[in-house]
Structure formats: C-alpha cells, structure tokens
Amino acid sequence: MSAALSTSPVVGADDQLAAGPEAPARTPRRLRRESGMNPIDYNARSKAFRVLATVVLLLFALIWLVPLVFAVITSLKPEGEIASNPTSWWSNHFNFDAYAKVVQNTPILTWYLNSFIIAALTVVLTLLVCSMIGFALAQTRFRGRGAVFGLILAGLLIPGQILVLPLYQEIQAMGLLNTYWAMVLPAVAAPVAVFIFEAFFAGLPRALVEAARIDGASWFAVYWRICLPLCRPAVSAVAIFTFVTSWNNFLWPLLVLSDVNQMTIPVGMATVVGGYGIQYAQVMATAVLGALPLFVVFVLFQRRIVEGVASTGIK
C-alpha cells in the first residue's frame, strides 16, 4: 500500500505554484500537514476511530474500483469464456483480441482524432478569448464595463442544455453541422472561464500594469508579456477543465455530429453498434478505449484537476 501511496502525486509538493491571490489561505493547511496528525485525534478513542475510518474508507475504495477493474478484466477475456462464466475475475487466456476488433470494426481512431482536435481548438480559443476579456475587466476601465460584467454573470444562470434547440437551428443555418466548428464555437465563450481569469488578473498589482504602461508597453504587450505569464495556474485550470468538458460532452455532439466519421468518442461509441449482437469483451474494450485518454490526462494532472475542483468550494 505504501508503494501505491508514493506514486500518487504528493499533495502540496508545489503548492506555491498555485499560490496566486489566495496564498495566505493555504498556510494553516500546510502547517497541519507537517504536524502529520489531525489535531482531532488527541486521545485513544480517536486513534481507534482513525483505524475504523481507514478500514471503512478502504472498503468503499475497493467497491469504487470494482466497475473499472471488472471492465478491464472482461475486455481481456475471450468471448466464449464470458458467455460461460461472465462473473469470473480471472482467465488463463487473457488477450487483446477484443481491442483489435474494436479498432478494426469501428472508426474509433477517427473519433479519437475528432475529439482531440475539437478539444484542442476549444481549449486554445477559450484560453485566448476568455483571458482577454478577463484582463479587460480586471485591469482596464471602460464604459459599459459593469454592463458587460452583468451580462456575463447572467450567462451563468443559463444551463447550456436550454439552448440546444435555438443553437441547433443557428448552427444548421450557418451550414456548420458536422464540422468541428459546431462543437468549438458555442463552447468558447464560457462565463466561468472569464471569472476565473478576471479573479487572477484582478489579483495582480495595478502598479505593475501602470509601470509597464509608463515604459511604453502597449496594452497587448502588458496582457501578453506581463500579466498572462503570471496567470499560469488559471491558464492550466481553464485548459484542463475545458479539455475535459469538451471531450466528455454528449448531448450537443449527439445533435450536431450525425456523420459517423465526424463523431467524437462518447457519441460515436453510443451510436454505432456492432453488427454481431452483443459481444461483451468488445463492448468493454470500447468502454476502456473511450475512457483511456482522459484517464491518462487525469493521472498526469491529478493534482491540478483536483485543486481546480476544490477551489470551487473554498472561495
């Protein structure tokens, strides 16, 4: 178990990175961690409770792992074995046949590519567009700024699903159905991203901007060379969330991507069925392949993703 622990990204290894404007709030947490002990556990009863907590949590963690592990195991079993013994956790004939068949029989590689291009385009444009207005709102004064703020705030109240019908007609009228742009353009103007950037830019000292301006830097240079590089945590948080959201989006691509070769991973997997009835190893292999890219992204950026989520609740 300890081996597994050491591989999990160590929390707090580079807390400073995420410092930004909220740095002071984090101090007590680090102190507490260094003490290595939760202060609530002062007496023996608490120690017993901690053991209980560990056991209970371990149990639930195991339950939580079951679907994933079982899916992976099933995907590696021969079909015949699944039919005769579907709930077995072991096979002497593990193989990658099902994966080969899925790759061969469905355009899953094309879907990967579509998903990736769409997500990447969305991330790049979202970062650019939302950081620019975030900068404008935080560091420049212009008439109508309050109105713009209110307008974007109102956008937070509108769940995206409300817009599917009019947006579908709009995209259809623009002739963009079955193109990547049908996915990318509506996703770029994300109010949440604006507020994240605005919060970061607002945390930068006004003097910094003014000094640069006095040195003759253009507004764009101030934004691009001075302020944006100081907002890396915001950039990475928005980038990761936009990427994940785009990749996992379902209802919208279900509507606008009806050409099988233009589909993204989640929609393609849900739309195209095998011609030979139900072959569970292949179904599970499809599920695993669909989950794989984001799982890898998650493993690589676990700390950052989790911190992004956590900050939702703290602010």
């Binding site: 193109t179 849900a270 069925v273 095998g274």
Partner: protein, 460 residues
C-alpha cells in the same frame, strides 16, 4: 499544446516527474500527429471537420439498424457486394434500432450529411417523405436502374409510393405470425396427416386450439409479450382489428384524423382479454419471459414477428410458423412491416453516385435470399418466386401474409417504434393484463393520441 504550458511551469520544483510527463505528452502528441497525418491523407474526416467539405467518389456510406441475426445476414450481403465490386468501398454503419435511428437519419439529412443509402421501415416512410428527407423516383427511373415496380410484392410497393412518387425500394415484408410447438400440437391433436397445423378459422377454433395446447403444456396455450413491449401489443391488436376491417387513422398530407372504430376496437380487445382472463395466455409477461415459456414448451403457441425465428432456431425446440389465423372478418389480413432501402435527400449527390447507390440497392435485392434466412419474405419477386426460396421453411409457409399485409396507419407520429405504437401498445397492454376494460383501453388510446392529433405536424 495548452497542456505543455502547464508542464513547463513545474520543472524547477518537482524534479523528475515533469520530465516523464513531458516525454509522455510528446509521445502522445507525436502519435496523434501521425494519426492526423494518416487521416488527413485519405482526406475526409479532418478536412470535413475543419472546412465542411470533402466527398469521395466510388465509395458508399450505408446505414442500417440491424444487429443480431439480421445484422449478420446484412453484413454477409454487404461483403458479397464488396467482393463483386472490389473498386467500391462500402462503409456500412449499424446504428441503434428504433427512434434513435430515425432521429439520427433525419438530423443527418437535415444537416446535409446523410448516408448515401439507408434502411427504413416502410411504416416510417410517409413521415420521412413528408418531411422532404428522401429522394423520390418515378417508376421509369427505377425501371431504368433495373428495378421495375412490377418486380416487387404489390402491398410493399404500394406502401413505398407516396402521391405517385416512389421513395423507397422494399427489401422484405416481415409479418406478425404465429409460431407453434410441433410436439405440443401433435399431442393436442392439432396437426393434420402431413404433420402441419390444421387450418384454424374464427375465434372459437382459435380458443379451442389454445385450450387443447394448454392441456398438454399444463401451463399456457399460447403466449404473447405484454409487459414492456408496446410494439408487440400493438401488432397483436392491429392484426385482429384490421381483420375486423378497422382503421386507426387516416392522413391527408400532414393532417391526421383519428378514425378509430370504438365497437371494432372493443371487440378485438375483448377477445384478447378473454384469452388472458381465461388463463389460456399469460396476462403479464415480458419479452424474456415469452422466450423462456415458448422455448421450454410451457406454451404451445407464440404470437410474434417472424424475425424471432433465429431466436428459436438455435434451440432444440421443434417449431413451425404460420400466418396468424383468420379470426375475424371476411378476408385474412396480416399485420406487417417492411424493411426498405432509401436514398436520403442530398444536394451533393451527383448522378454517378446515385447510379452507384441504386446499383448497390439492386445487388442487395438480388442477394435477398441471404436476408430471408432471418425469417423475412423477400419483396423482390424474382427471389420470392425462386425455387431456393419456395423450398425454404418455415419462411415459405407464410408468404401469403406478405400479400395480405397491412401496415401502421399513416401520420407523422406513427411507424415502427413510434409514439403512436407506444401509446396504443400501452393501452392494449393494460387491457390484456386486466387493469383496464376494453372500453377503458379504447378511451386511453383516444386520449393518448389526442395531443399528437391536435399538434401541428412538424414543419407546417
């Protein structure tokens, strides 16, 4: 790329990790770039995705909704085509059956990216054609493509035609039929000297036959899916109601009128309820239960679509299939639907592509003996009348049903797996399981359909 920015931020602080992370990312990016180059090489997905253009000559995109046994047969037919036309690349895609398929087909066509050829149920045709989603053909055009209208089962061809224009090329007729367990029926004395079921006519004879079978099985005489299967409920009801000469709806263009005959509907429902109330048939059983009861000999008869033949052909059960007996009315009528091939409307399709698509359709028709293995009656008469098919059992037993076929009523919300079937099927089920009287069920049909009848058809 955006991710790399993130990775760059870390190295000074956390040692090794970012390096491996970056290596992984680089490898991943390189892999994807390779994939992109490969895909861009053969043109379309990326090019289409970015520029909205790109089409490949000498390739066909074909959508269907067949899985299981039908899926296997269809794959065989497509492979046969590819073997005979090695220069044409066919991309056959199987989509989930029912409403999702039709939604997708409509959206793809409206989104100017339809498949070149697609399968449809003929019961859905008027809706698709009414919404201007299909290419229409004159009889001459089809004849020129080697498919004269006279070469198809007349009932199916008639259903393929809307206002004189042919919108679909029928592939088969798949009627609602009656299966019987040969051993049970022999013991019950229901078989003739030839070992075939003796003809059954009229409600009394049918009840008597079910009763005789019930005595042998000790459980049920016959079985039909009631629970969670609105379509089957509708089919069984439609068979009896159509035999009585009833009509559910009529349509004049987009305007749909309810023409339900209360008396006839109540008579049909009353008879169905009598069968379940008397215990000759179970009143609450779902699809899986039906399969289990019939395949284990606990019911002598089964009312279901002929497409279930492969389900039972794989078991030890000895069974045969006949048209649903002529219970009511002056002439036998069978409820049925047809699979047909359509060319969705596509302004980008040129004549060469259209000819290629029609050639593909014709090949499937001529190869439809393969298709018949799934229980379906080929609509293409040269195959239907061929020796190979007439000697195919049990399929050839119920060819009659294709000739007397009646379909789902017209209307934009009607057709296979539609809201219409859901509404009527639910009401029929409530009558069969005894939770509603026939009169109440008729009322439920009326009130359930009313919102759709009141609503304007889409696009008007």
């Amino acid at each position: 790329m955006a991710m790399q920015t993130t990775a760059n931020a870390a190295p000074t602080r956390s040692g090794q990790r970012p390096l491996t992370r970056r290596a992984l990312l680089t490898a991943g990016a390189a892999g994807l770039a390779g994939l992109a180059a490969g895909a861009a090489g053969c043109g379309s997905p990326v090019e289409r995705g970015l520029l909205g253009t790109g089409s490949q000559p000498n390739s066909l995109v074909y959508w269907n909704l067949f899985s299981g046994g039908d899926g296997e047969n269809m794959t065989k037919m497509v492979n046969n085509y590819s073997a005979a036309h090695p220069d044409v690349s066919v991309q056959a895609t199987v989509l989930s059956w029912g409403t999702p398929y039709y939604t997708k087909l409509a959206l793809a066509t409206a989104g100017s990216s339809p498949p070149d050829v697609a399968v449809t149920h003929l019961s859905r045709l008027s809706t698709l054609a009414g919404n201007d989603l299909l290419q229409g053909f004159s009889a001459d055009q089809l004849a020129k493509a080697g498919m004269p209208a006279g070469n198809f089962t007349p009932a199916a061809m008639q259903k393929s035609t809307v206002d004189g224009t042919i919108y679909a090329i029928p592939l088969d007729t798949h009627p609602f039929v009656m299966f019987y367990n040969v051993d049970v029926c022999r013991e019950a004395g229901l078989l003739g000297a030839d070992g075939k079921l003796k003809p059954i006519k009229g409600p009394e004879q049918l009840q008597a036959a079910f009763a005789a079978a019930k005595k042998v099985t000790g459980q049920y005489g016959a079985v039909v899916a009631v629970t969670n299967d609105p379509s089957t409920n509708w089919r069984w009801f439609a068979t009896l109601y159509y035999q009585l000469g009833g009509q559910v709806m009529s349509a004049d263009g987009p305007d749909v009128k309810l023409t339900l005959d209360n008396a006839k509907a109540e008579q049909a429902l009353g008879f169905m309820r009598q069968l379940t109330a008397s215990g000759l048939m179970p009143g609450t059983v779902d699809g899986a239960g039906v399969t289990s009861l019939f395949s284990t000999g606990k019911a002598g008869f089964l009312l279901d679509g002929e497409w279930q033949i492969p389900t039972y052909a794989n078991t030890d059960l000895k069974f045969d299939v006949v048209p649903v007996p002529h219970v009511f009315g002056p002439k036998p009528v069978a409820f049925a639907d047809s699979h047909a091939l359509v060319l969705p409307r596509n302004s980008a399709m040129d004549d060469a592509k259209r000819a290629l698509a029609l050639g593909f359709v014709k090949f499937l028709l001529e190869d439809s003996l393969v298709w018949a293995a799934g229980g379906h009656i080929p609509a293409w008469l040269p195959v239907q009348r061929s020796k190979a098919f007439t000697s195919l059992t049990p399929q050839s037993n119920y060819v009659q049903a294709a000739l007397t076929a009646e379909y789902d009523p017209p209307g934009w919300f009607s057709g296979a797996g539609s809201q219409f079937e859901n509404v009527v099927g639910a009401a029929v089920a409530s009558c069969q399981n005894g939770s509603a009287s026939p009169a109440q069920a008729v009322q439920a049909i009326r009130s359930g359909l009313q919102p759709y009848l009141d609503a304007p058809a889409p696009g008007t």
